[in-house]
């Protein structure tokens, strides 16, 4: 896969089960969680709940949100914002699907890497 300036290829869509999530560690940076919804759309968030840093990748995905495994905050996969009564936000990392492969935006993925 040719590395492209803006997007990084992280592999085929099938690696993710529907309603599942997997992790993408970034050396020196913040681990990313990649989610797949029931309708097949792919989303990426920092793998760190705005509440107490729970690993969102281990939560239950439903509709376009994920419920954190530690204390059940619900986080939007679209905006990274906590839904309902809770307040907080986690970074969203842009992703795209092209020919069945997932690409993640380089600049956002590497944000904070020193």
């Amino acid at each position: 896969m040719m590395a492209d300036a803006r997007w990084i290829d992280i592999g085929p869509v099938e690696q993710l089960p529907a309603l599942g999530a997997r992790t993408l560690p970034v050396q020196g940076g913040q681990e990313i969680a990649i989610f797949r919804t029931a309708t097949g759309s792919i989303h990426a968030l920092a793998n760190k709940c705005p509440h107490k840093a729970g690993p969102l990748s281990q939560g239950i995905v439903h509709d376009t949100s994920v419920t954190c495994p530690l204390h059940n905050w619900r986080i939007s996969l679209l905006t990274g914002e906590a839904l309902g009564e809770d307040k907080g936000c986690v970074p969203v990392i842009p992703v795209k699907i092209d020919a069945g492969r997932i690409y993640i935006e380089r600049a956002s993925a590497l944000a904070g890497v020193v």
Binding site: M1, A3, I8, D9, I10, G11, P12, Q15, L16, P17, A18, L19, G20, R22, T23, L24, P25, V26, Q27, G28, G29, I32, I34, T37, A38, T39, G40, K52, A53, G54, P55, Q58, G59, I60, V61, H62, D63, T67, P69, L70, N72, R74, A109, L110, V113
Partner: protein
């Protein structure tokens, strides 16, 4: 006028002035509905006599399909029982068909010779099934599907199994086929056209339907032209024009219906395809009106119930001197085959000036198509996801201008009406007053709301008051939304039942009952069937459904890891830093030097940050990384240890004391019984975590009195108590019973656990459950009902034969490996290829 033959009932009611005599021919859906509508407007105007050819009271014909399928009994589908006729002073003459109408004399003559005069006559004779006149069509074993007698014949035939051939792949034929196949027959459906239900479905939806039916074991032959029905004294098979022969012990003809017009023709009323009526449902004779499938109105004949309700309203308005006029109906169809959701309405034949908008979602088996002409919706076909059916149907009937929502139309009401909310209440609020809520009984939103405004404060009163949701129940969610919209907080406050979660209006108990009754076997199926209002549920209903399904169908259930809480998905306990803790099982709290060595080695190798003795008498290894879990499990497995399920809504530990083997007070071998109990119960999934303890004497060192199930040994046996909890709300156990032998103790334990598994709500510990149902109930099921106890035990042991396997070993062998691996890894400036 002739001397009227007035019955006792009529005389009583008619005291005072003489009432007009209304005679109804046909005790079916339209005839009785017409009478109900008239009575609702003016209860005293007519003295009513109803003739019915069938020897029974009025019932819901469309529910014959669920009766055939075994979902309902005849009693369930009765619309009006005898007391309705009595209370309203109606004389029912059942089992006696009318054979002639004498118009000049204004009387009808029945088969038994009875002559009854009328002032007004209502003909509601329905339709006759169409029978293709091929050779052999009169053989015994060839039947139609129209009334209860037909269903009885099918049920009798199905008792001996064998082959059934259903001729006709329309709504009726497919419902017959479904029922017969559930009753154990091998079913072949013969359909003349290339597409099943071609009048209601387009090719794509017909294909999805066909594949689903084939998957369920039916044989579907399309373009099948029946030439002959074979057999001498009874049907043995069906022969097609192309020479194919199909074995059959039963042939059901469901190729169509024709309006039942024989009587009207004899009486020389104007009859074309049906009995011709005007907008007030009046025939060519002003004294005679007609409603239902037997009529032809503005050139159209109907074969579904919805138009009948509209006809009956218009008729009743006319008969009570406030004519409103019937203008014809647009119809919509749903197939009543459990697990198949299919909706169609209007015209979808296509054409130059129409535009199709299609959406497919193969993964969900959804196909949606709407047909637009100009700025109007003219047709819709939905397969797999019919939640928006009534919304489309409403747009279609009202000829609404859809230009503003055209782009979003196919995504359904939630999207098209602006906000992406999936709130069911706002969707229902947006429906117009005359939108149909209950298709089975033809009840509009306006009528439900009127019924609620009239004092119906809960679902049952609405069902009793206006019949909405009283038949198949699939509109229950809509009715509940209307209740909560109309009553606001009053409704929620008054509710005795709380729904499982915000995705549904069904309670936990409703859902479990439906899973069994409708044989729902997967989460999407439950959500489709029970009209979940969200696409894929939420973090609270998905794990519950997963549990209910595995409990109901131990052998068939397919695990859905995405519907497990993280601990159960990872088979370890997540800790606040995102690492996991690992607890191997130590049977009854007993360990060996070898096991201890393996734990020590594992703790070193995987850099555990802490090893702790738990309150459940075993060791917890903390700080293990997600990636290392399969490896540490493999090491522990190698030393003979299995998962302790310390993470699961499952059997946790069986705590024991040393008992009679060592202790000077011990009365029985509490350790030995604890080990046996743990070996019987480990690996079983439960509504919540479940803890057991066995103490060797009433000193109770194993703290059995705060466990879900505690056993205290005494000289003469074992005392069992249940429902204890040592958590935030400390609760001592309640005494269940005393038994004499270990074997009995194990039997009662298994039975109690199974009762809890089958009846408690997901996430109910035993303590709140025991408090809710009461100890009397539990004793009744476990102690007093010996046969029932043994059945519970049997079901538990059967479930265990499936579920009792070490999840660690499965993971070590590679199952769900992706859960433990990163998808890829990013190293700045050098991107690794994914694994």
């Amino acid at each position: 006028m002739n001397a009227p033959v007035i019955t006792n009932v009529q005389q009583e009611k008619a005291s005072g002035q003489a009432r007009e005599r209304l005679v109804v021919i046909g005790n079916g859906m339209a005839g009785c509905r017409a009478v109900e509508e008239i009575l609702a407007r003016d209860g005293d105007r007519y003295a009513i006599t109803i003739f019915g050819a069938e020897p029974r009271v009025n019932y819901d014909r469309i529910m014959l399909s669920p009766v055939l399928a075994g979902d309902k009994s005849f009693e369930d589908i009765i619309i009006n029982d005898q007391s309705w006729y009595d209370d309203n002073g109606i004389e029912l003459v059942s089992g006696d068909a009318v054979i002639a109408i004498k118009r000049e004399a204004r009387e009808v003559v029945s088969a038994s010779g009875r002559v009854t005069p009328y002032d007004r006559l209502l003909i509601a004779t329905g339709s006759d099934p169409f029978i293709i006149p091929v050779p052999g069509h009169k053989l015994p074993g060839v039947i139609t599907f129209r009334d209860l007698d037909d269903v009885d014949k099918m049920l009798t035939a199905a008792e001996t199994g064998g082959n059934a051939v259903v001729i006709g792949g329309g709504l009726l034929g497919l419902e017959a086929a479904h029922g017969l196949s559930l009753r154990g027959m091998k079913v072949t459906v013969l359909h003349l056209m290339p597409t099943l239900m071609e009048r209601q479905l387009d090719e794509a939806a017909g294909f999805l339907l066909r594949s689903e039916l084939e998957r369920r074991g039916q044989t579907i032959i399309t373009q099948a032209d029946t030439a002959e029905i074979l057999g001498d004294s009874h049907v043995t098979g069906v022969k097609l024009k192309d020479g194919t022969e199909i074995e059959a012990d039963l042939v059901v003809m469901a190729v169509g219906i024709k309006p039942s017009t024989g009587l009207a023709k004899l009486a020389e009323l104007e009859v074309e395809r049906g009995i011709v009526v005007d907008d007030n449902m009046v025939t060519s004779d002003p004294a005679i009106v007609a409603v239902g499938e037997c009529v032809q109105h503005r050139g159209a004949c109907y074969g579904l119930v919805a138009p009948l309700w509209e006809m009956c309203r218009a008729l009743a308005d006319f008969m009570t001197s406030t004519p409103s006029g019937y203008v014809g109906s647009v119809t919509a169809t749903k197939l009543k085959v459990s697990g198949i959701n299919l909706f169609s309405a209007g015209d979808f034949s296509g054409g130059a000036d129409t535009e199709d908008i299609v959406m497919r979602d193969a993964s969900r088996g959804v196909y949606k198509r709407v047909v637009v002409k100009g700025d109007r919706l003219i047709g819709a076909v939905l397969y797999g996801d019919t939640a928006d059916g009534s919304w489309y149907f409403d747009l279609l009937k009202r000829q609404e201008d859809i230009s503003d929502i055209r782009e979003a139309l196919i995504f359904g009401q939630a999207f098209a009406s602006g906000g992406a909310t999936l709130d069911p209440d706002s969707a229902v609020a947006a429906l117009s007053q005359d939108a149909e809520i209950c298709g089975c009984n033809g009840v509009t939103k306006g009528q439900v709301v009127a019924c609620i405004d009239g004092g119906a404060g809960d679902l049952d009163s609405v069902r009793a008051g206006c019949k909405a949701s009283a038949s198949c129940g699939s509109c229950t969610g809509l009715v509940e939304s209307l209740l909560s919209l109309s009553l606001g907080d009053d409704y929620d406050g008054e509710r005795k039942v709380t729904p499982m979660c915000k995705c549904t209006s069904f309670t936990h108990e409703d859902v479990r009952r439906n899973i069994l009754e409708k044989e729902l076997k997967s989460i999407p199926q439950v959500m489709q069937e029970l009209h979940w209002t969200t696409a894929d549920g939420c973090a609270s209903c998905r794990p519950a459904l997963n549990y209910y399904l595995l409990c109901a169908w131990p052998t068939e259930h397919e695990e859905d890891p995405q519907s497990r809480f993280v601990n159960e998905r990872m088979h370890a306990n997540i800790q606040k830093d995102g690492t996991y803790s690992v607890v191997p099982r130590m049977w009854g709290g007993i360990t060996t030097p070898n096991e201890l060595r393996a734990i020590a080695d594992a703790a070193d190798k995987y850099e555990a940050r802490l090893v702790k003795v738990t309150g459940g008498q075993r060791l917890d290894i903390f700080g293990i990384k997600k990636e290392d879990l399969p490896a540490i499990w493999a090491d522990l497995n190698a030393a003979g240890m299995v998962s302790g399920h310390a993470y699961g809504k499952a059997l946790r530990t069986v705590k024991t004391c040393v008992g009679s083997e060592w202790c000077r007070f011990g009365t029985q071998d509490s350790t030995g019984l604890g080990i046996k109990a743990e070996q019987m119960t480990w690996g079983s999934w439960m509504p919540h975590k479940f803890k057991i303890a066995v103490s060797g004497c009433p000193r109770n060192c194993a703290e059995a009195s705060i466990k879900d199930l505690g056993i205290i040994c005494v000289d003469s046996g074992y005392e069992l108590s249940v429902g204890g909890n040592g958590g935030i709300h400390l609760r001592g156990t309640d005494f269940l019973c005393k038994v004499e032998t270990e074997e009995q103790a194990l039997e009662y334990m298994a039975a109690f656990i199974q009762l809890y598994r089958e009846e408690a709500r997901y996430l109910d510990r035993t303590a709140p459950w025991v408090e809710r149902v009461g100890m009397d109930y539990i004793k009744g099921r476990i102690v007093e009902d010996e046969a029932g106890r043994k059945e519970l035990q049997e079901r538990f042991l059967f479930a265990q034969s499936v579920h009792q396997k070490d999840p660690w070993a499965e993971r070590v062998a590679g199952a769900e490996g992706h859960l433990h691996k990163h998808i890829a890894e990013i190293r700045p400036f050098s991107v690794l290829e994914p694994a």
